[in-house]
């Protein structure tokens, strides 16, 4: 009776299993390569007791398991991207066995090669921007409001200040995105992260990803440095290099 399945992390240009033999994937499993014509699938053999549909659904509801597995998945994809051009997969793609993976690779082989060609020599960089306005003026707000009217006036002033801070930040975010896009091959704007999940101190006004060639990395960082220097401290957060999660097609290939 079948007890294992094949977990798929990424599709890459050809690499050998030897190049990934040191890696550990989800649940500490060994990572290996399924070669198929001009592409390769990066996989691990996993237990169905963890990855069959009900077990997997239950695990995905457990934040500890989810956080650990998400990081393990990303680590494998990152390691692959350091070796060869990589198309990251969304996590939790599980095929019944290696033959089933071969079948998938055969179907998408042509389109995958086309996408890999666009990604050659590039990394993804994440840029987040936060609305950090100057503190509201203390005029008229130091005393506790003593009447309902005074309270409403104070509240209205606070909201107006907050709105104008956000308006300015939104404008600055657009300008920053435009400048960075000029030194990137491609750019994307994602939904700002939920402040209540990320624990960020200030609202996020930009959550962007940029696909940058390695030759242009210095130019990209120069623009970032300029933006950082012109802004309040901690207005920006730069992460990367990432494998190009944001620049692979989102529909089934």
């Amino acid at each position: 009776m079948r007890t294992t399945a094949t977990y798929l992390y990424a599709i890459t240009r050809p690499i050998s299993s030897a190049e990934v033999s040191e890696l550990r994937g989800v649940g500490g499993t060994a990572v290996r390569v399924i070669a198929h014509r001009e592409i390769a699938g990066l996989v691990s053999t996993v237990e169905l007791s963890d990855f069959a549909e009900q077990a997997l659904a239950a695990h995905l509801e457990d934040l500890d398991w989810l956080a650990r597995t998400a990081r393990e998945h990303d680590e494998v994809v990152r390691a692959a991207a350091r070796i060869a051009t990589t198309m990251p997969l969304r996590m939790a793609t599980v095929c019944l066995d290696d033959d089933a993976v071969h079948t998938r690779l055969e179907t998408l082989s042509h389109s995958a090669v086309a996408v890999l060609s666009e990604l050659d020599g590039c990394d993804e960089w994440g840029v987040k921007m936060f609305a950090i306005g100057p503190p509201p003026s203390t005029e008229g707000t130091t005393a506790e409001p003593s009447t309902g009217t005074a309270y409403l006036t104070q509240r209205r002033r606070q909201l107006a200040h907050r709105d104008s801070t956000r308006e300015t930040a939104a404008h600055d975010a657009g300008a920053a995105f435009a400048r960075l896009s000029k030194v990137a091959v491609a750019s994307r704007q994602h939904r700002p992260q939920d402040q209540r999940l990320s624990g960020a101190e200030h609202p996020m006004v930009l959550n962007a990803a940029f696909l940058v060639t390695r030759q242009d990395e210095d130019a990209f960082r120069a623009v970032m440095t300029d933006l950082v220097e012109q802004s309040p401290p901690d207005a920006f957060a730069l992460t990367g290099p990432w494998p190009p999660y944001s620049f692979v097609p989102s529909e089934d290939l």
């Binding site: 399945a5 798929l8 599709i11 990855f51 069959a52 549909e53 009900q54 997997l56 659904a57 995905l60 509801e61 934040l63 500890d64 989810l66 956080a67 998400a70 990081r71 998945h73 990303d74 198309m87 990251p88 997969l89 969304r90 996590m91 939790a92 793609t93 599980v94 095929c95 019944l96 089933a100 998938r104 994440g126 994602h190 939904r191 992260q193 939920d194 402040q195 209540r196 999940l197 990320s198 624990g199 101190e201 960082r221 970032m224 440095t225 950082v228 401290p233 901690d234 730069l238 992460t239 990367g240 290099p241 990432w242 999660y245 944001s246 692979v248 989102s250 529909e251 089934d252 290939l253």
Partner: protein, 111 residues
């Protein structure tokens, strides 16, 4: 940041999750799972109910800055009741009918 971080600056859990759950190539595997059922907001609520300490360990402590959740202003038991019922609502809204091992309906792409 006040100057650029070195390459490979530490990314947050939120940075990783939004990529591996919501970006990346979608290939229909043989095991069907709808990642969109994992609503990040639901996760937040579960964190609050399950383990404040665990979340704090992971660097998630937004509620300590959220005045509407300060101890002393709300009854914690009442808060938990309200949150549990909200989780139940969200689960009911996203719950798939199939409970067996058979393939479930194709995951829907949203946005």
């Amino acid at each position: 940041m006040t100057s650029l971080p070195a390459r490979q600056d530490a990314s947050t859990l939120a940075d990783v999750l939004e990529r591996v759950l919501d970006k990346g190539l979608v290939i229909a595997g043989d095991i069907r799972v709808n990642l969109l059922d994992i609503e990040l907001l639901t996760i937040k609520i579960r964190l609050l109910i399950a383990s404040v300490d665990k979340a704090r360990e992971m660097g998630i402590d937004w509620w300590e800055h959220d005045p509407t959740l300060s101890v002393g202003q709300r009854d914690i038991a009442e808060e938990n009741r309200a949150l549990r019922s909200r989780v139940a609502e969200l689960e009911a809204a996203s719950h798939r009918p199939a409970q067996n091992e058979a393939a479930s309906p194709q995951a829907q792409e949203h946005e």
